[in-house]
Amino acid sequence: MAEAVTIRPTFAWRYRKVLLGGLAIVLFFAAWQAVFLVVPFDPLFISKPNLIFAGLVDLVDSGDLFHDLAVSAVPFFLGLGAAVLIGVPLGIVMGWRVRVGYALDPLMTVFYASPLVALSPLLVIFFGVGVAGKAIIVFVLSVFPFIFNAYAGVRAVDRLLINVVRSLGGGEWDLYRKVIFPSVLPYIVAGARIAVGRALIGVLVGEFFAASEGIGYAIARFGDLFALDRMFACILVIMAIAVVLTEGIRWAERAAFPWRIGQ
């Protein structure tokens, strides 16, 4: 009996962070639902959680949702992959080769700080409405967090470790492999968290402008058709994906870089 008394508060205490966070989400949807008890509900302008949920079930049942997600995933991962492959080496070289850094820093800052999403119509005109156009929009939006985080990571490399490797006979390539890249890796993963959000925006915007399938297209079309329940269902799915991806990266960070915990 004494056990039962002690265990229950421990559970609530242990998971208080998750429980409180979850409670806020539940309250948000409950309030959304409840508001229409006093405010007149017009399905042409707004939807509410019970209808959205029904719409979501419908989209899942018909298989449309997964089809659209699969279509959108292709340019998302192509663009993001290219952003890693180009952004990381560029950022590292900018950080390690001082003159390259001086030369490119202002230009890259201008690009990073500006609303590049405004270039999307132009990119669609250049590269078409297919996978390539969308992948390039994703790339343009998500490459800069990789560049700048890798750049910052290199500048934060402990000079002592450089001297250690040099003193043991390591050359330039050894410095990259044994010190610079491992030091920069956590910065790159932190950059990936930002980049993923921007890449999602890239996919959606690309599909808003010109597409015949994909989740962004679905959102735009359901909006045009005043099927707001389905539109919101798609938006919620995108939100959930964004949360899963960024939290997944955060979790991977803790698992992969145990030495960072103490820092």
């Binding site: 002592l160 003193s167 043991l168 390591g170 044994k178 030495w259 103490g262 820092q263």
Partner: protein, 256 residues
């Protein structure tokens, strides 16, 4: 007879951008015999660490020459290894892989590296910690790893740049005794830079006092205490006389 390590009239001025140049070394001379334990004490900023970096091959002097086996030092080489004050361990590597670093850079095969690391882990008293990361170790243990890493490539000369300065007083006393034990087994020439006169006397065959910046050799004291050294020797009149003598030589150089 030519010394094992010779520094002749070594001068070096640092020229940091937008700041006044700093003359770290000015006409520094040194002779180190093979197998000896030589400590260098001097005021802060007198260039003692700078000289170790020159000897290590990371820094080039403006003038003068530094010879080892009669040949000028052209860069880092596996006949010398440094133990750093701030340890310099790679945080993403386990104890074992930190120790293997130098061998890895020399492209030594994995099994051979592991064998060397295992032997050194035992030698420095880290048995059972081979798979730990540096952030899981105490300061004393970190420096044991630093020492093992320096010994891994089997250098002839061990350069130690205030290796125990970041440790608390008791750990420091223990590490000094440990170093003497390891030195007896590994038989290296040691150049040991420190601020602590006690430490220098206790460990060394000779103690060099350096002048304030730009650093020169001011005076060298031969330490005639018998080996193996015991902790009790630190409270003998002989030890204290030496300490006072070295302090009197050093104190004029210290600028507060």
């Amino acid at each position: 007879m030519a010394g094992y390590i010779q520094g002749r009239n070594v001068s070096l001025t640092f020229r940091p951008p937008n700041r006044t140049p700093v003359r770290a070394l000015g006409g520094f001379d040194i002779d180190v015999e093979e197998g000896e334990f030589l400590s260098i004490v001097g005021p802060s900023g007198c260039g003692k660490s700078t000289f170790l970096n020159v000897l290590l091959g990371l820094t080039k002097p403006d003038s003068g020459e530094v010879l080892m086996h009669g040949k000028p030092i052209g860069g880092p080489g596996s006949d010398r290894a440094m133990v750093f004050q701030e340890f310099g361990l790679l945080p993403w590597r386990t104890v074992q892989h930190n120790i293997e670093l130098g061998l890895e850079l020399k492209r030594v095969a994995a099994e051979k590296r592991r064998a060397v690391a295992e032997r050194l882990i035992t030698l420095v008293g880290l048995t059972g910690f081979d798979q730990h990361y540096p952030h899981e170790l105490s300061g004393g243990m970190k420096q044991r790893v630093g020492l093992a890493r320096a010994l891994a490539t089997d250098p002839d000369v061990l350069l130690m740049d205030e290796p125990f300065a970041a440790l608390d007083a008791q750990t420091r006393d223990l590490m000094q005794a440990e170093l003497l034990r390891i030195w007896r087994e590994a038989r290296k020439t040691v150049l040991f830079v420190t601020h602590q006169i006690d430490e220098a006397i206790y460990l060394s065959d000779r103690v060099m006092v350096m002048s304030k910046r730009p650093g020169r050799a001011k005076k060298i004291f031969a330490i005639k205490l018998p080996r193996p050294r015991e902790y009790e020797m630190r409270v003998t009149p002989e030890f204290n006389d030496l300490k006072l003598e070295i302090w009197n030589t050093l104190k004029d150089e210290i600028v507060v």
